[in-house]
């Protein structure tokens, strides 16, 4: 039966191309990762980087000076990993938010997550108020407050059935409320505290150490598995709600579940890095252009692309005014924006969203 084998083989080829693109992304991440670690006041070669990392697990295999070893493993690698994890998480959350809200404008920040984090950070920095202490005085507070919008939307949707459009509006309203709150406390604050807060808000991959990366990585790995497991339901929800329901998807429950997981991812990322915008909005779109909207592939690919994208931005932020370093949050939008416009102008025919 040549007929039916044909369309399936075509589809297999189509899938094969997606797998190839994902492989390219992974290669890109290892390459960029190596390059990123070489940058800084102390110069290393690309092979040195991977030798030092290898040495950490098998000490003494390569001959690397102890100082270099320490700089690479304790300072440079955590920064690189932070950029990778943050990019991965934000892009993953963005893909999910766009899918469940059926809205190309959705991003990890749509539901007011970042505004919540900003307010939490503001309370800690400006007013000295935090629900967490010690090392996590600011981070913990930002994390807790960034989850509030998700809870509010969650409870509202329990009481009243909410369409995706209303959920977006509720999120935007919460963002305004939190921003106003942040402005209010800023108005009564000292200039130096304000500077500290706005620096935090700009988003930076260089604030983390190995001990922060553990929890972040655990959240991201668990969340990724949960989300990738939902990709079949997400594919069905690409159609309008009635169709999705008729195919057996519990649309409301899936929407709430994914919203909760995405908010958790976003909160975990930005409490360590500050607000890194744009990646979560645009990485899913660019990946969709390259790989299509099939979530089984889009979800991991978009995460990987986001990781590569944010790491590239971080490399530029370290290089552009060397030896000073720009906050990466500035670079993502400043460079990503024009890149995105270029793609919009160059793309032909097909509507990608």
């Amino acid at each position: 039966m040549p007929g039916y084998i044909d369309s399936r083989q075509e589809y297999r080829k189509f899938i094969g191309r997606k797998a190839f693109i994902i492989a390219v992304f992974i290669f890109l991440i290892f390459t960029l990762g190596g390059i990123a670690v070489t940058i800084g006041p102390m110069k290393f070669s690309f092979p040195d980087v991977y030798k030092a990392i290898f040495n950490h697990f098998f000490p003494g295999y390569f001959n690397i000076p102890e100082m270099s070893q320490a700089v690479i493993w304790k300072i440079r690698v955590p920064r690189t990993l932070t950029a990778l994890l943050a990019g991965f998480g934000l892009a993953l959350a963005g893909t999910q938010m766009q899918a469940i809200l059926r809205n190309p404008l959705a991003s990890p920040f749509t539901l007011g997550v970042s505004a919540g984090a900003g307010f939490g950070a503001g309370l800690a920095t400006l007013m000295g108020i935090s629900f967490t202490g010690g090392k996590y005085f600011l981070i913990g507070n930002a994390f807790l407050f960034s989850l509030i919008p998700a809870f509010v939307v969650f409870f509202l949707s329990r009481i009243k059935r909410m369409s995706p459009g209303v959920m977006v509006l509720a999120g935007i309203s919460l963002a305004y409320i939190f921003s106003a709150g942040t402005m209010l406390i800023s108005y009564f604050s000292r200039a130096e505290d304000l500077k500290a807060l706005s620096l935090w808000m700009m988003g930076d991959a260089g604030k983390t150490t190995w001990s922060d990366l553990g929890p972040l990585a655990i959240v991201l790995i668990l969340a990724s598995f949960l989300l990738i497991g939902k990709s079949g339901a997400l594919d069905v929800m690409n159609a309008e709600d009635e169709t999705a329901k008729s195919l057996g998807v519990n649309v409301e429950r899936t929407r709430i579940f994914i919203m909760a997981v995405s908010s958790l991812i976003t909160a975990s990322v930005i409490c360590f890095t500050g607000m890194i915008g744009f990646v979560g909005l645009v990485a899913p779109h660019i990946t969709r252009m390259l790989i299509g909207a099939n979530n089984r592939f889009l979800v991991p690919a978009s995460g990987l692309f986001g990781a590569a994208f944010l790491l590239s931005a971080d490399i530029i932020s370290m290089k552009i005014i060397e030896p000073s370093v720009l906050p990466v949050g500035i670079v993502t939008a400043l460079l990503g924006g024009p890149l995105f416009f270029l793609l919009i102008v160059k793309r032909q025919g097909r509507e990608y969203w």
Binding site: M1, G3, Y4, I5, D6, S7, R8, E10, Y11, R12, F14, Q98, A99, R102, N103, P104, G229, S231, G232, A233, D235, V236, N238, A239, E240, E242, T243, K245, S246, L247, G248, V249, N250, R288, G292, A293, N294, R296, R350, E351, Y352, W353
Partner: protein, 258 residues
């Protein structure tokens, strides 16, 4: 093959009551057309049939089971629904659309067997050359055919179609109806179709249910339901009726003053 039984269902939106007590039965191997003017409750009724909407009162039975107590995926294994305005926000291929029909049968992600199934359906429907095209880029008539293919991949024994012909030219209208008739005849599938075109209903339906103000106004074969008097009552339109191939052929004349 299962029978769908609807027992005195009522449905209201917050400010309007749409269905006011409707009972009917859908048997395997028949095409039932639901007609009535805009707002009569056609789409609401079809959505209550597979729990997209839950009726406020009354019960729906799929075979022996009450719909309310069934899992969404189990309902989807028996009933497929084609919405009035099918749209995919993000571009997907026709193959992916058809493959999504496998969702109720999957524990996790779709596998090789599901792809084979999707490919078989595409071949059977002679849609293979569309497989790698994007759903949003094919014509409305092709889209309807693809959605029917999705329903077949779903292996549903009841096909609920909400105005499948509304946006189509006359050729595609006929093609869609022919496809449905063929499936119903060949596979003992049942089909419920809401439709505005009375002549298509007359020609293809085994049974016609005419709604008026949320109630069944008339039900039966085309000749008995599509009388000038019924149409005047339900639609407020004066018509003249001829017979074509033994079935009523309706020519609208003018709207009646209410």
């Amino acid at each position: 093959m299962v029978t769908l039984r609807i027992n005195d269902i009522e449905f209201s939106y917050p400010s309007v009551s749409v269905l006011k007590g409707i009972s009917m039965e859908i048997m395997p191997g028949e095409i039932v057309a639901i007609i009535g003017k805009n707002g009569a409750g056609k789409s609401t009724l079809i959505k209550c049939m597979n729990r997209i909407l839950e009726p406020g009162k009354g019960k729906v039975f799929l075979g022996e089971k009450e719909l309310k107590r069934m899992k969404g995926k189990d309902i989807a294994k028996s009933m497929a629904y084609l919405s009035q305005k099918a749209s995919y926000v993000f571009p997907v291929t026709v193959f992916d659309v058809v493959l999504s029909g496998r969702y109720p049968h999957l524990a996790r992600n779709s596998g090789q067997r599901d792809e084979v199934r999707a490919a078989e359906v595409l071949k059977m429907m002679e849609l293979e050359n569309l497989a790698m095209r994007y759903f949003n880029e094919i014509s409305g008539g092709q889209q309807q055919q693809v959605l029917i293919a999705r329903a077949l991949a779903q292996e549903a024994s009841i096909l609920l179609l909400d105005e499948p012909t509304s946006d189509l030219d006359i050729k595609h209208q006929l093609e869609v109806m022919e496809t449905v008739r063929k499936l119903v005849r060949d596979r003992e599938i049942a089909s419920v179709i809401t439709i505005h075109d009375l002549n298509l209903a007359s020609r293809y339906a085994d049974r016609i249910v005419m709604l008026k103000n949320g109630l069944i106004f008339a039900a039966g074969d085309a000749a008995s339901v599509l009388s000038a008097r019924n149409i005047a009552e339900a639609y407020g339109v004066q018509v003249s009726i001829n017979k074509v191939e033994g079935r009523p052929h309706i020519i609208p004349v003018c709207p009646l003053r209410s």
